[in-house]
Symmetry: C2
Subunit: 68 residues, 2 copies
């Protein structure tokens, strides 16, 4: 499965790394691609193992807002 | 001794941490205070152990510009 999350507040490469790292720690995440300029985070995942809500929480724990 | 460096490109708390960490690894650095909004980095240091140029290089290695 693929999904694009809209994340606000990422400003630099460290932010990108924080979001990627947080998602990567979740079971069922197979790939993450972050576009800093647009805030779009493309995620490839196994929907039997992980939910959008879990991804959202992982990102928010790092201090960013998931707006969609 | 005290000095204020003007650093461009710091956008978030991770950037602040990167700059603080890089300076903190230098011998002779006694204190670092970063103001993200202004880009001002106040450094307390022992000028017999560390030079402004070494601080500048440490910050630039993290990907930021020291403009003064």
């Amino acid at each position: 499965m693929e999904m694009t999350l809209q994340v606000n507040g990422m400003t630099c490469g460290h932010c990108e790394k924080a979001v990627k790292g947080a998602l990567g720690e979740l079971e069922g995440i197979q790939g993450v691609d972050v576009d800093l300029a647009s805030g779009k985070v493309d995620v490839v995942y196994d929907d039997t193992l992980v939910t959008k809500n879990e991804m959202k929480e992982a990102i928010e724990e790092q201090g960013y807002d998931v707006v969609a």
